[in-house]
Symmetry: C2
Subunit: 82 residues, 2 copies
């Protein structure tokens, strides 16, 4: 069994309107020293597989097929044996 | 200047309908070995502050005041000197 931690990040070259809106709000609350706010997805899941390579391949396929939009987003992940 | 990485996680005792929907979809794609999917927020920002303690206090206030819902979510963060 692996605990899988996945980061799905919009490419930094692509505008993040939600991050921009939150940045404006943070600044308007008085924190003028905050910039470059980006809001991304963090996904945790459990994978019932004992072989590391199989687990890694499974997660890559799941990210490519379902979790990440290949035109806009990049993904990275960590596997921790449970 | 600090790079701040913030995790905003719904408490594990509270249902995550989006995570559940994605889990069903992953299972229906043939990955029956995936469970406990949770989808949370990952936020990056830059904080123009040189003092570690002040930076930490700023981020805690921003999380409490704006980023996290204290009834549903917990947050954690890492500061990296840039």
């Amino acid at each position: 069994m692996f605990l899988v931690k996945i980061f799905i990040k919009r490419r930094r070259s692509i505008l993040d309107p939600q991050g921009k809106a939150v940045e404006h709000r943070i600044n308007s609350l008085g924190y003028k020293n905050v910039s470059s706010v980006r809001i991304d997805k963090y996904i945790e899941l459990e994978l019932n597989e004992n072989d590391f390579t199989k687990a890694k391949n499974n997660v890559e396929k799941i990210c490519n097929d379902l979790l990440a939009n290949p035109h806009l987003e990049d993904y990275s992940f960590e596997l921790t044996k449970k």
